[in-house]
Each structure stands twice: as structure tokens, then as C-alpha cells.
Assembly symmetry: C2
Homo-oligomer: 332 residues x 2
DNA sequence: CTGAAAGCGCTTACAG
DNA sequence: CTGAAAGCGCTTACAG
């Protein structure tokens, strides 16, 4: 074994195999049959490459080639059922399509999002998917300036095509489900409370609209105090409910599993009428159906969103209107 | 704006700024003050770079430089609390240390693991962290041959240093906790059942050892039929318990949250004596404490494991004995 | 069947 | 204060 400090190159291999670097290169990148290099030489080179622990230097290879095949994704969190699933499926689907996926996680920090996006472009990503980005327009503006395609997922933007869940419809359906349960099991007909998220956030706004419209259709008027969208954390959800001690039936629309943690904590500490609280959650968790009071959850259709996203890659960007993907309502 | 098809290079910028490519390069990579390039020129170049949406071609830059700063990680899943958290914290900690993290998810598929590892090395990763790899030795053998450092996380290997949880101790503590609850609340003293995982898997084996040793210390003998380690899925856990209808008190050691799903499903379908089942789980989930019968969970100390992993980077590889990191026992 | 040569976009020691 | 030139490791059209 040679000095470990330097990696083996095609020149090392060429010397060892007593062939030219060009020949070695074409053996290693699979074009040797086309170049009609003898099978004997090819086998010798591949054998040597194996022995020497050779691996192609992608930096050098990409520099010379026309395409990188890299498709980048930024995602707010991995440690989250929804986004973790998106990242995971993205990688699988990208590989299946012959791309090299590079995902990076940006902690809902707009500056980190932008830096990470620039980094991915520096790595010659051919397309960048911004998932749940807080400032997608800044990112796609930069992509546009660099001549790199970009796509928004989960949260829409103006400068690139967007693929998002049909939050409005799913929220309306979930609200109706909660209302039905309240009527049938508690003989009570609203109004419900809305807990979690931020109203400035597009998805929360769309969900709130669905929440209100379902109740409007039943002539239920919802007081402002019932809209408790004060953030994305278990703490803020528990906080906003702290002083609410139900005195009879009540129902809650929970916006995301992270808020659900707070709601469940609050619920478990109720001293009376805990069984008169019904809630549903816009988000999916496998333990959801075992939480007392939880009557249903909305699961976003990640596979379809990604499939549509991949179909957009390489296509000329046509419409900028968000493409809406229906969600699945899971009833317990 | 020029033709979008080609990205802007330092040569384009040099022409526009009426300067040499060398000067542009040093302005862009921050060495211009050292080279005593005039502030005026520097500002002009940076302005132009901004306008043209320039971003450095990392492939070209790395090819010329000595170091890549890339540190790679393979991880089985993102859509999993434990591994998702590892990937997320890895990226944060890597950035904080000036590295460029690239994580990829390999679905517990040994071949995909190996391919992904090779790919990361092709991208000139300086160090590769194999997390929960099914065949870590094959990967580190390849890394060794290529002169790339490698580290095993979560699951140990022979060819590289390993940082793993102290599964044995934590499992023993969790077992004792379950036994204590069973005695105090049910007046019953084992033996417990062990559900989930695979005995061939190092971590399952270590946990089983702790499980057995805690009971051995209390002179409880555990029949073989109580060891139900038949896989990592909610289905297999539910399956193995299908015909178990407890007729009195019972206790279960659940190996991972994925198995916990199956256990909870089984538990929720019991017609009698459901309140006489106590279980604990080796893994953490925020909804865990709200699941009836769940008395405690083990949370692995991801931050410490990663911190130790990062300390190993760049250091000569000394001991091959796994470094054990204590877990935290969360009691409900 | 195979090699010499140019060039991908950078960086940096060297020479003014 | 600044530029010309070499070279990082590859690929590929071109010329035998």
C-alpha cells in the first residue's frame, strides 16, 4: 500500500496497469466497450482500482462533464414525522430517477435557508427544492439569477412553481369530523377552538379558513378568543390553554403534532370533564389514535407531492399558481 | 441578463470588471486584503457577482484546494425520532465546526449503505460517519483502503472507532424500573417479556443481556418463550403478541418505538386486565408518557455521542473498543 | 484497438 | 498593487 495521504488517481492506475490515463478513465466510467478497449485491459484496470481503493474524484469529473445530476433539497427539520418523511422519500425517489440527492436541514432559520441554498448551488445542483421555507422567494430569486431551476414544496412562493397540500379542504373536513363527533357523542355543537401555528404562515391561514368555513356552513359563529394560533411549540400550545378549564363539552382543532403535544399535556392534567373534550389534529402521528380524545388526524400526501415535484424538474416553468394536493383524513 | 444556460464564472466577472481572473478569484474567496487588492476593485467585483447571481463552482475550487471540509454521514432513516435527531444535530454541529455536512439515508439496506458511502468518498468527504450501519466493517474497510477516516455511530464495528450507547446498563435500569412498578402496583414480580428487535443485532443483544441480568439479580428466571425479538416493525410486534391474552399481571420490555406501536395496538385491544399490563420502552417518543401502561422510556444521549464523534475527527485512530455513552432514563 | 492534448473553473506560488 | 501561468483529476473529440 502506498502513502495513505494521497488518494489514488487514474494516473496512478495508468502507471500500474501500463496503460494511458484515457484508457483507464474510459474503463472506469463504463465507456470502454464503446471505445473498444480490450476486455483484458479493462479487467486489469478494474482489478487494480479495487485493490487500490480507487474512487473517482467527482469534483474533477463534474467539472469536465456537462451535467451534475445533483438535485438539492432544503427542509426545516428531520426530527419531525412530516419533514423527515419528505426528506427520506425525496432521496429514494431521486435515486430511482438517476439523480444524486443532497438534502440539508435549515432549522426554520431564513438566513440558514438562504446560505444552504447558495451552497447547494455552488455544488452545481441542477434543481433546488425548497421545502417549508420561510422565505422561498428570496431563494428562488437567487436561483433564477443563477440559472438554476427551483421548486417550492409545502409552502408556496411567487418566483417558482409550488406544490402544496390542499390545506383548506382538509381543514374543513377535519373540522366537520370534530363537529360530528361532538354532536353525536356530547350532544354539543361548537364552536371549536383552533390551537397552534401562526396566522402569518400561509398554511395556518388556509387551515383557519377551512376551520371557519365548516362552522359557518353550520351557522356556528366562532369568537376571536377561540383562535389560539400562537406558535409552533408544545409549550406555546400548553400555555395558551393553561387557563382554559372546560366546564362541559369542548372541541379543539390542533394545528400540527408539535402543538398536539401541548394539547395532550393540558388534557391529561384536567381534573374534570376530560372525557368531554374532543380534538383532531392536522398532522399525522402513529401514536395519535391511542391518545384519549383524539378523533382523527390529517395525513398529507407526501408521495404525490414529491411525484409532482419531480415531474416539474427539467420542464419549462409554466404556471406559478400553487398545485394543490389533497390530504388523507384518518378517522379513529 | 446574459444567456441563462451557462453559469457566470470568474472569467465573465473579470471581463465585466476589467480585471484579471486572479484578482476576481481572490476578491471572491476573501484573500484580497492579503493580496492588497484595492478596496475599490474589490467592491466593484462583489457588486458584479451579486448582480450576475454568481456562485463559486465548488467542484473547481475543491479540485484545486487541499481540503474539502466535507464530512459525510449515512443514517438508516430520517423518519424516526432517534435517527432524525442524529442527522439534524450532526448537521448543526458540523456547521458549527466549519465542516460541510452531507447526510444520506440508506434504508437499512447493506448495499445501498455501501454505495452511498462510496459516493460520499467520491465527493471527497474527509471523514465518513456510519450510523446504525448493518455492515459497518465493509464500509470502513473501503474507507481505510481509500485513506479516508471513518467512525461508527450507534452500532459498533471492528475497522474503525465506534461510539455507541451503553445499551446494557440502560436496559438493566429500565428492566428494574418495570419490575419495581409491577411489584408496587400489581404485587407481581415477573418474569417480564422482551418484545422487538433482532438478536443478531448488537444493540438488541446488549439490551437483552441487561434485561436478563436485572432479573437474574432478583432470582427471576425468564423462560425462552418470553424473548420475543422478531423484528423491527409495528406489525411484527403486534404479531408476536397476538395470542397472548394476559390472565393477570404482566410486564413488557419494548425494544424501540417502532415495536412500541405494535405493543400499544395490542394493548388497546385487550378486553380484560389491560390495566394490569406495565411496559417500558428502550427509545424516546414525546407522546410516550400519555400511553396507558407505559411507565418509562430510555432516551439515548445523541448530543454526547456526536460530540465524541466529532472529537475523533482528524485524530489518529487509537482504540477500537467501542466508547460507551450512558443513556437517560425517563420515568413517567 | 489506443494515446496525446485540450479544457472544465478555480487557486496560488511566482514574478513583477 | 496586480497578472500570467501552472496544475488539481478528470473526459472526450480527434487523430491515428
Amino acid at each position: 500500500m502506498e502513502k495513505e495521504s494521497k488518494r489514488t488517481t487514474i494516473y496512478d492506475l495508468a502507471k500500474l496497469a501500463d496503460a494511458s490515463p484515457s484508457a483507464v478513465s474510459s474503463v472506469l466510467n463504463g465507456t470502454w466497450e464503446k471505445r473498444r478497449i480490450s476486455r483484458k485491459l479493462a479487467e486489469r484496470v478494474m482489478q487494480l482500482a479495487e485493490e487500490q481503493g480507487y474512487s473517482v474524484n467527482v469534483q474533477a469529473s463534474l467539472l469536465r462533464r456537462d451535467r451534475s445530476n445533483i438535485v438539492g433539497m432544503i427542509v426545516p427539520k428531520y426530527d419531525n414525522r412530516y419533514f423527515g418523511n419528505i426528506a427520506e422519500q425525496f432521496e429514494i425517489m431521486a435515486r430511482a430517477r438517476g439523480f444524486f440527492p443532497v438534502v440539508t436541514c435549515t432549522q426554520r432559520d431564513p438566513d440558514l435557508e438562504f446560505e444552504a441554498a447558495k451552497e447547494l448551488i455552488s455544488y452545481q445542483a441542477e434543481c433546488l427544492i425548497s421545502t417549508g421555507a420561510t422565505d422561498p422567494d428570496r431563494i428562488s430569486a437567487f436561483c433564477n439569477a443563477s440559472g438554476v431551476q427551483s421548486i417550492n414544496l409545502d409552502l408556496p412562493g411567487k418566483n417558482a412553481p409550488s406544490v402544496i397540500s390542499d390545506n383548506y379542504t382538509a381543514a374543513r373536513d377535519l373540522t366537520n369530523l370534530i363537529l360530528d363527533h361532538c354532536e353525536q357523542e356530547l350532544g354539543w355543537s361548537g364552536p371549536l377552538r383552533f390551537v397552534g401555528g401562526r396566522l402569518a404562515d400561509h398554511n395556518t391561514a388556509a387551515r383557519l379558513k377551512g376551520f371557519l368555513s365548516a362552522q359557518h356552513d353550520r351557522s356556528i359563529s366562532v369568537p376571536d378568543s377561540h383562535i389560539m394560533a400562537n406558535g409552533y411549540s408544545a409549550e406555546s400550545a400548553a400555555m395558551v390553554l393553561k387557563d382554559f378549564r372546560p366546564d362541559g363539552p369542548s372541541g379543539i382543532f390542533v394545528n400540527s403534532t408539535i402543538s398536539l403535544e401541548g394539547v395532550v399535556r393540558w388534557h391529561s392534567e384536567l381534573e374534570k370533564d376530560a372525557d368531554k373534550v374532543k380534538y383532531g389534529c392536522f398532522d399525522w402521528d402513529p401514536f395519535g389514535s391511542f391518545l384519549p380524545g383524539n378523533i382523527g388526524m390529517v395525513e398529507q400526501d407526501v408521495t404525490t407531492m414529491l411525484k409532482i415535484g419531480f415531474e416539474l424538474i427539467g420542464k419549462p416553468q409554466t404556471t406559478k399558481e400553487p398545485i394543490l394536493v389533497p390530504c388523507k383524513l384518518r378517522i379513529f
